[in-house]
């Protein structure tokens, strides 16, 4: 089993949106996948995955032996493949209930159950919760907005991955790092208001896994509790689908990164 952390340092950049889409994408490609909410006290992944009413137990219950992992895992209903499970975070407990040995136990149980991937949705910040989410990671998706504080925080979280992850501490092969730009607006880039994805990549110097455009459909998806990747025909769904394919080793060109000026007629009609 591979453990993948979706992390960023900065809050609100799209980690949960990405975790939901990415885990769903892996499941749609046939992999048995668990997506785990590490945001103890502020769980939200259940809402984005649309399974909030089916939450009975959470990761802390499993760690404290108050429930079996199989009781806490919620089967996702959006993927026809029926191989995606959500492990919610606790809404009430104190953050320190998420212990390193507890997380290790949960991950090893998932491995025994035959999961191919565990996707860890990290909380914001560089404190305990974020460190727990990345400790056992084999790969990391550094979710970044094209904006100064997000880029800086991404670099700081890279530093933490390189010093506090299990792989860093025991000197094995380092965590594989991927850059994912989200909320990218080609129009604002064109106008010189927003940093280009190329610049972000040159600044952080890690391989680019994808660019997800800023899009109104993300709100449409979260309103309904449907991971964005299921919104057929939307740019965001296609960008996430491409990102999953690249993660699995396919070489695909970037899409949705260039701005096409609306033509005269479109402007006349007031199109976007």
């Amino acid at each position: 089993m591979r453990v993948i952390v979706v992390t960023s340092g900065k809050g609100g950049v799209g980690k949960t949106t990405t975790s939901a889409a990415f885990a769903s994408g892996l499941a749609m490609r046939g992999f048995k996948t668990a997506v785990i909410d590490f945001d103890v006290g502020l769980r939200n992944l259940d809402l984005i995955m649309g399974c909030e009413r089916r939450v009975v137990y959470d990761i802390i219950n499993v760690i404290n032996d108050e429930a079996k992992l199989t009781q806490a895992l919620i089967k996702d209903k959006h993927c026809e493949s029926e191989n995606l499970y959500v492990l919610p975070a606790s809404q009430t407990r104190d953050k320190n209930a998420l212990t390193e040995s507890g997380v290790e136990f949960v991950l090893s149980e998932l491995e025994h159950m035959g999961f191919d991937y565990a996707v860890c949705d990290s909380p914001a910040g560089i404190e305990h919760g974020a460190v727990m989410a990345l400790t056992f990671a084999d790969e990391a998706i550094i979710t970044t907005n094209p904006e100064v504080s997000s880029v800086r925080d991404s670099d700081r979280i890279l530093g933490i991955l390189q010093s506090k992850s299990r792989r860093a501490l025991n000197g094995s092969e380092p965590v594989k790092e991927h850059l994912l730009l989200t909320r990218y607006s080609p129009k604002r880039v064109e106008e010189g208001e927003m940093i280009t994805y190329k610049d972000v990549q040159e600044l952080l110097r890690i391989p680019l896994l994808g660019v997800i455009p800023e899009s109104e459909s993300v709100l449409q998806a979260s309103n309904q509790g449907i991971p964005t990747i299921h919104l057929k025909g939307s740019d965001v769904a296609e960008a996430y689908t491409d990102m999953v394919a690249r993660f699995l080793g396919e070489k695909l060109p970037l899409r949705f990164v260039t701005y096409e000026k609306p033509g005269f007629i479109k402007r006349l009609l007031g199109g976007k």
């Binding site: 100064v148 880029v151 800086r152 530093g159 106008e191 010189g192 208001e193 940093i195 610049d199 600044l203």
Partner: protein
């Protein structure tokens, strides 16, 4: 005059063209990230102490601001170089 103009046009230049601020962002980030990475990878534990002590010695002779000193360990080819940057206040000529 300048402030009046900028108040009138905000961030926009004349003829409504917006300032291309993204280049400034990239430049600032380039400096910041290089600096922070350098501190992360090469900064030994004694560096803050060394910086404080250097500062007290220099302050005995020259009036300097606490934040006008910057020390870095850098790799230059095969050797490590300890780089100390001290910005002297204006009017404090060298050799004075």
């Amino acid at each position: 005059m300048g402030t009046l103009l900028s108040r009138l046009f905000g961030e926009k230049k004349l003829f409504g063209e917006k300032k291309r601020t993204s280049e400034i962002a990239v430049q600032r980030l380039g400096i910041l990230i290089a600096h922070e990475r350098n501190n992360r990878t090469t900064r030994p534990d004694y560096m803050p102490e060394l910086q404080r002590e250097l500062l007290t010695v220099i302050a005995k002779y020259i009036e300097i601001d606490l934040d006008k000193i910057d020390i870095q360990l850098e790799k230059q080819g095969d050797c490590d170089v300890l780089k100390v940057d001290i910005i002297l206040p204006e009017g404090q000529d060298a050799g004075q």
